[in-house]
Amino acid sequence: MEAGWSPEDRAFRREVRDFTQEKLPAAIRDKVMSGRPLERQDYMRWQDILAQKGWIAGFWPKCHGGQDWTASQSYIFQEETTYAGAPWLLPFGVNYVGPVIYTYGTEEQKARHLPGIVSNEVFWCQGYSEPNAGSDLARLSTRANRDGDSYTVTGSKIWTSMAHWADWIFALVRTDSDAKPQAGISFLLIDLNSPGITIQPIQSIEGAHHLNQVFFDNVRVPVENRIGEENAGWTYAKFLLGHERVLSAEIGKAKRMLERLRSLAEERNLARDPRYLETLARLETDVLALEWTTLRMLDTVMGGAAPGVEASMLKLRGSTVVQEIAEYTVDVLGHEALAFDPSFLEETINDPSSELSRNMGVVSEFLFQRAPTIWGGSNEIQRNIISKHALGLG
C-alpha cells in the first residue's frame, strides 16, 4: 500500500533518508533506539547538524529561514528521521513559539528571535501549565502587572520540560483578573536569565529529570516581549496548541519501536509464539490505521483545509499506540526488564551499548510513555474536543 507520493516527495524522502544515515551520530542513534534518556548536548548536536543543512525549521516560510516545505514534506522528514533513530526534534522553538512569532509578532520580535531558532542557538521551553491550571489552562494565575514599559511577573509554571536547559521561556500570564478567564491572558517571551526566576527539578517516575517547576518572583519583562495584543494571548495559545497536536502521531517512531520489538522477540525465540504473534499483529494494525489516518489528514491539509479535530484524533491514537508498544516491549524482555537502575543510564562509566543498558532503556521508555497520553492536552481533553466539535455533542 502506497500513498501515491509525488516524484518530488519520493526524491525528498530519499534525500532525508540518505542524509540521516550519513549524518546522525551513531552514539545518539544508539541511545534513541534503546530508549535511554538524552542529554542536552545530544539534542543540540543533532539539531546543529540539521541547522547547517537548513532543516531545523523546514516547514517555515523561506523569508524566515525555512524551506517552505509542504505538509507532506514535513511528514516525510519527521517519519524518516525518527524511524532512523534521530532524537525528537525539540518543538518548543521550531514548532511552537516560532510560528507564533512569525504569525503574530512584530518585525523587531521576528528579527530578534527567529534567527536563533533557525540556527539552533537559542533553547526555548514552554510555560503553560500551572499547579492549579492543567486541563483547565485558561484559569492560569501567574500574574503580569504592567509597570511603565515592563511587566512584573509573579507565579509559577509546572511540568516545564527541559526548562533547566533552556535560555528562554514563552509563557501565558494573567494581565486582567476581572475579565473572563480566556480574555485576560497575555503571551510573553521571557529571558530565563532574568533576576527572580528559579527553576526547580521534578524527578520523573523513570528516574530521569526533564520536568521542572519554574518560579517567577517579580520578574521584570519588557513590554516589547509581549506577543500581539495585551489580553489576547489565548488566541495565540490556541494557534500554538493546534501546531503541537499535528505532530503528535509519530509514525516513524511507532515503526521504529515495532522493529525493536520484533528483534527483541526474535532474540528471545518468541518469533513463533502464538501470543506474541497475536499481540504484534494487533500493534502493527494499530500503526497502519494511524499511518493512514495521518495520510488522509495530510491530504486534507494539502488541499488547504485547516487541521481541526483530526489533530485531536491523531494525538489520541498516536500517544496510545506508542504507549502500548512501549509496554509490550517490556513484556517481551520478561525478567530481563527487572534489572533497572536509572543512575546506570546516566553514568558514563557504564558501557552504553551493553545489553543491560539497552534493556534499561526499554524500561525507561515504558515508564516515560505514560506521559504523552497526559500532556499536550490530555487524551480526555482531546475527547472533549472531538465530541464537541466533530460530533456536535458539546
Partner: protein
C-alpha cells in the same frame, strides 16, 4: 461458607494497616524486619502446630496490608519457605528461627527457575539450576527448594551457590542465583516422593496467595488515592470527579479492585482446601495482576502530570506491579502455564 474476616483476623488487618501508616517505606533496613518479627507477623505463615497462628488467610492479610512496600517483596519468599518447611516437618527448629526473625529463608519453586530448569543429579547427590530476579535471597541464610521429586534445604553460604545482586525495577534488591552442582547431604533432603509433591503444592498455594494479596493491597491503595484526588482536584470550576466520563472510569477501577480482592480470597482459601487445581491458582494470579495493572495505569492517567513524579506513589505502584507480572513465577509465568495446559 463464611468468607468475612474473624475478629482476630480483623485485628491483624488493623494492626498491619496501623504499622504501615507509620512507615514511609524505608530502605532495606534490618530493623524493620526485627520489628515485624516481634509483632509476630512471620507466624502468620504457619499453623499452630508449627508455632505460628496462621494458615493461608492470615498470611494473605499481612501481604495485602504491606502491598507495594519493601516488606512485601521480602516477606513473600519467606512465607513460601515457611509453607514448604511446615509441610515437610512442622517441628523443625528452623521454623521457629524464621518466625523469631533470627534467620531468613527463601522458598523457591521450579517455575521460578530459568528455562533449562532445575536438575537433580546422580540419585539426589547434587542439584543445579539458575534463577533470575529473586527477592530477598541476598539476605537469606537458607534456600528451601520445593521440587516434585524432593524438598531441599540448602545453606546459602555453600561455595557452589552463586549470587549476583542488583537494583530491580521496583527499587528493591534483586538477585540472580546459580546453583552449580550443590552437594546434597541426607540432612538437606527434607522429603521425597509424594511428600515432596505435597510440599510443592502447598508452596504454590502460598505463593499464589501472597502475589494476589499484594496485588489486592496495591490496587486498593492506588484506587483510593485516585478517588480522593478526583474529589479534591478542581478544574473547570468543579471537582473533576463530577465529570461523568471520569466517574465511569472510577467505577470500572472500583469493580476491578473488588475482583482482585475476590481472586486473592480464592487463592488464600486454597490453603484450607484439598486438591485445588493448579490452573485455578494460575488464573487467580494472572487475573489479579491484569486487573491491578489496569488500576495502576488508570490511576496515573486520572491524576495527570503529577502522577509522573516521584512525589506520589503511583509510578512506584506501577513498577511494583510490573515486577509481579514479569518476575519468574509471576503472572506471565502462570499465563504460559495456563496456555500449555490447554494445548
Amino acid at each position: 461458607m463464611k468468607l468475612t474476616l474473624t475478629q482476630e483476623q480483623s485485628m491483624l488487618a488493623d494492626s498491619v494497616t496501623r504499622f504501615m501508616a507509620g512507615k514511609n517505606t524505608p530502605g532495606e533496613a534490618e530493623s524493620i524486619w526485627r520489628e515485624v518479627a516481634e509483632l509476630g507477623w512471620l507466624g502468620a505463615g504457619v499453623g499452630e502446630s508449627a508455632g505460628g497462628f496462621g494458615g493461608g488467610r492470615e498470611m494473605a492479610i499481612v501481604m495485602e496490608g504491606v502491598g507495594g512496600s519493601e516488606l512485601a517483596q521480602a516477606l513473600a519468599p519467606v512465607f513460601v519457605a515457611l509453607a514448604i518447611l511446615e509441610k515437610s516437618d512442622p517441628e523443625a527448629a528452623l521454623i521457629s528461627g524464621i518466625i523469631s526473625g533470627d534467620v531468613v529463608a527463601c522458598g523457591l519453586l521450579p517455575e521460578m527457575a530459568a528455562d533449562d530448569g532445575l536438575k537433580l543429579e546422580d540419585e539426589l547427590t547434587s542439584v543445579s539450576g539458575q534463577f533470575h530476579a529473586l527477592a530477598n535471597v541476598h539476605r537469606a541464610r537458607h534456600l528451601v527448594l520445593a521440587l516434585p521429586e524432593a524438598t531441599l534445604l540448602l545453606p546459602a553460604s555453600d561455595p557452589n551457590v552463586h549470587l549476583r545482586s542488583y537494583r530491580g525495577m521496583d527499587g528493591k534488591t534483586k538477585s540472580d542465583l546459580k546453583l552449580d552442582h550443590v552437594a546434597l547431604s541426607e540432612a538437606s533432603v527434607l522429603s521425597k516422593g509424594p511428600d515432596a509433591a505435597a510440599a510443592l503444592h502447598r508452596a504454590r498455594v502460598t505463593h499464589a496467595a501472597a502475589i494476589t494479596a499484594e496485588c489486592s493491597g496495591l490496587a486498593a491503595a492506588l484506587f483510593q488515592y485516585t478517588l480522593d484526588y478526583v474529589k479534591q482536584r478542581r478544574q473547570f470550576g468543579q471537582p473533576i470527579g463530577r465529570f461523568q466520563a471520569l466517574q465511569h472510569r472510577l467505577v470500572d477501577m472500583f469493580v476491578a479492585v473488588e475482583e482482585v480482592q475476590s481472586l486473592a480470597l480464592a487463592a488464600a482459601r486454597a490453603a484450607t482446601i484439598v486438591d485445588v487445581p493448579e490452573s485455578a491458582l494460575s488464573r487467580a494470579i494472572t487475573g489479579a495482576s491484569d486487573r491491578a495493572l489496569h488500576v495502576a495505569k488508570e490511576a496515573i492517567q486520572l491524576h495527570g502530570a503529577v502522577a509522573m513524579t516521584e512525589d506520589l506513589p503511583l509510578g512506584g505502584g506501577l513498577r511494583r506491579l510490573k515486577v509481579l507480572q514479569l518476575m519468574p513465577g509471576g503472572a506471565e509465568t502462570h499465563r504460559r502455564r495456563l496456555q500449555q495446559s490447554f494445548n
